[in-house]
């Protein structure tokens, strides 16, 4: 089991195997069990428990025993998908780029969320505490920044790339940086003063309209933080929404039925759809690797840049 950290097994549904007297046939026999890995999406952090009905929905339609797993970090889902330990994965765009880099065409993005107003992207935001004096990136010169995860688009790769585009070298502008382990962890770390700023996901809107989703909003809705205690001082995007990614070496019937079941969910069962953290009116649209070509290129550029840096021990204090 390559899912790092705790893998929460939600258990089998009563579908599929039970309906066929426990015997799978044809392509179902080839697949065996539908295993789907989640990192709860970059732009949509919802606890795994709220995915129970989704698990039952997917299993009922495919006729397969279905298991959902939540990886503890982005690399967990990348490795699980790349190694074939799961057939489906919901992951951030940069995580998909990571899987693509590992196994190429053996994985493919198939769907991503599209908001009711037709937008299908989210933003990388740099947030600070509202009681801090920081109101711009310039104010963060020499300060500490927390990134979510090396494989996070909004929480690492994209803001670093965009800052460079804006003439700011994140390696020299900030005094120090660290990896918090995730967007939720990053917000909590900012809250307790571990960083002066964090790169974090912001979604459900634009810098002009304001954001209704993302780590800050989700944690505030759970009562873990107060939204007004934080301030977004920089937001760039949009980044294409997180894809559902599928192993392409699965039977075509499975791929079509699973994609159809997922795409139809917002229409067939809006309640279950909402419980996965999606807003009313949001639906899925088909995507391909081409949708994420910019993220793939940005990730490759970040890796190339990282290779040119001197080792940490060589830096002058």
């Amino acid at each position: 089991m390559l899912l790092l950290g705790t893998a929460l097994l939600l258990g089998l549904t009563g579908c599929g195997a039970g309906d066929r007297g426990g015997k799978l046939e044809g392509w179902r026999k080839d697949v065996g069990t539908l295993r789907m890995g989640l990192t709860a999406g970059e732009e949509n952090s919802v606890s795994l428990g709220r995915w129970r009905k989704f698990e039952a929905y997917l299993g009922g339609i495919t006729g397969l025993p279905t298991q959902l797993y939540q990886a503890s970090d982005y690399n967990g889902i990348i490795q699980a998908l790349a190694s074939g330990q799961v057939e489906l994965g919901q992951m951030g765009p940069a995580a998909y780029a990571g899987a693509d880099a590992l196994v190429g065409a053996k994985v493919a993005p198939i769907l991503m969320a599209r908001s009711n107003d037709g937008t299908s992207g989210y933003y990388s935001a740099i947030a600070v505490r509202a009681d801090s004096p920081y109101r711009s990136i310039a104010d963060l010169k020499g300060k500490s920044i927390g990134y979510a995860d090396f494989n996070s688009a909004s929480g690492y790769i994209y803001p670093r790339w965009k800052l460079r585009e804006q003439g700011i070298d994140p390696e020299t502008h900030f005094g120090s940086s660290g990896i918090s382990g995730g967007h939720v962890q990053g917000v909590l770390a900012l809250d307790n003063g571990q960083f002066d700023a964090i790169a974090v996901v912001a979604s459900g809107g634009t810098p002009e309209t304001g954001f209704t989703a993302g780590a800050l909003t989700q944690l505030a809705r759970r009562g873990l933080i107060k939204r007004e205690d934080f301030r977004i001082i920089w937001a760039e995007g949009p980044i294409p929404n997180s894809p559902i990614v599928m192993r392409t070496d699965t039977p075509q019937e499975f791929q079509d039925i699973a994609r159809g079941a997922l795409a139809a969910l917002p229409y067939e069962d809006p309640t279950t759809w909402a419980e996965t953290g999606q807003s009313p009116g949001t639906t899925y649209v088909a995507v391909t690797r081409d949708t994420y070509r910019d993220v793939i290129a940005i990730r490759e550029a970040e890796i190339a840049e990282r290779r040119t840096r001197p080792a940490a021990g060589d830096k002058a204090p």
Partner: protein, 282 residues
């Protein structure tokens, strides 16, 4: 997997058959002047090779077109199992609504399609249904199609007296529009769902920003045309068809182009809810 294209140069019986029975082709209804019935020749005369070939490969089943003179005839054939899939409009769908359901609608790429909207009134408003909105001063937060035309169409489809609405230019955003509603400068507020999310979903457990407003209605426009199947079709087959068609514009644009000829304005296909073709009585 073998499909015998040459052997399909016959008019197949229109007797009901199970689409997934080995040797039985998947039958798609088309409307035209051709002699009624299913014929492999229709694929060529209709230029449907790209589409039927794509579908046949995915279904692992022969695909044949079947000609009908009207959408009502298509609806009847779907209901009695004579065909497996066809395009219906609400009028053709209504008589067979208990045996047929829509599964896909067409949308122009880059457009909102059948987006969702909500209609809010003051919680203290006496009106409790759409009929009570006759002559209402309706506020908008967005002059774009998604914030104005689509919601108004959806409300009309739901039986609201939209012809009597007094609708002015949109206010600059949902906060301004909600303030106007609260100040009594309007009787109802239309919001597309993303705007509703921004306005009404609070950022704290105890925050209910729209507690003083009542949601009178939410919905999507009725579909003008939809791809439909029999409700007797096994669910996995129905979802398989959805899964094949949703990426069709990416995987086989020529195939999608053939469908677009029957679904004007179709740049891609979206799934749809079972009630998408149902016209609501006023």
């Amino acid at each position: 997997m073998i499909w015998r294209a040459a052997a399909l140069l016959v008019c197949l019986s229109l007797a009901p058959a199970v689409a997934q029975t080995p040797g039985v082709p998947f039958r798609i209804a088309v409307i035209g002047d051709e002699p009624p019935g299913c014929s492999a020749a229709l694929t060529a005369t209709r230029g449907a090779e790209a589409y039927t070939g794509h579908l046949a490969a995915r279904l692992k089943q022969d695909v044949v077109l079947c000609a009908f003179p009207t959408r009502a005839a298509v609806a009847a054939a779907l209901a009695d199992g004579s065909v497996d899939m066809g395009w219906l409009d609400p009028a053709a769908y209504a008589p067979v609504a208990n045996k047929v359901r829509p599964i896909l609608t067409g949308r122009e790429a880059g457009t909102p399609g059948r987006s969702m909207a909500m209609l809010l009134v003051a919680a203290s408003s006496p009106g409790k249904d759409l009929a009570s909105l006759s002559g209402a001063r309706v506020l908008l937060a967005d002059d774009r199609t998604v914030g104005r035309d689509i919601p108004l169409q959806a409300l009309a489809d739901a039986g609201a007296p939209t012809d009597s609405f007094l609708v002015e230019a949109a206010l600059p955003g949902e906060e301004a529009a909600a303030a106007a509603l609260r100040a009594g400068r309007g009787d109802a507020l239309i919001l597309e769902a993303s705007a509703w999310q921004r306005l009404c979903v609070g950022d704290a457990p105890d925050k209910k920003p729209c507690a003083d407003l009542a949601e009178l209605w939410r919905g999507r426009p009725t579909a003008r045309l939809a791809i439909a199947v029999s409700t007797a079709m096994p669910a996995d087959r129905r979802y398989q068809l959805v899964g094949i068609h949703v990426p069709l514009h990416l995987e086989n644009p020529r195939a999608l182009a053939w469908i677009a000829a029957d679904l004007p304005g179709t740049g891609l296909l979206d799934p749809t809810e079972a009630g998408a073709l149902t016209e609501k009585a006023p």
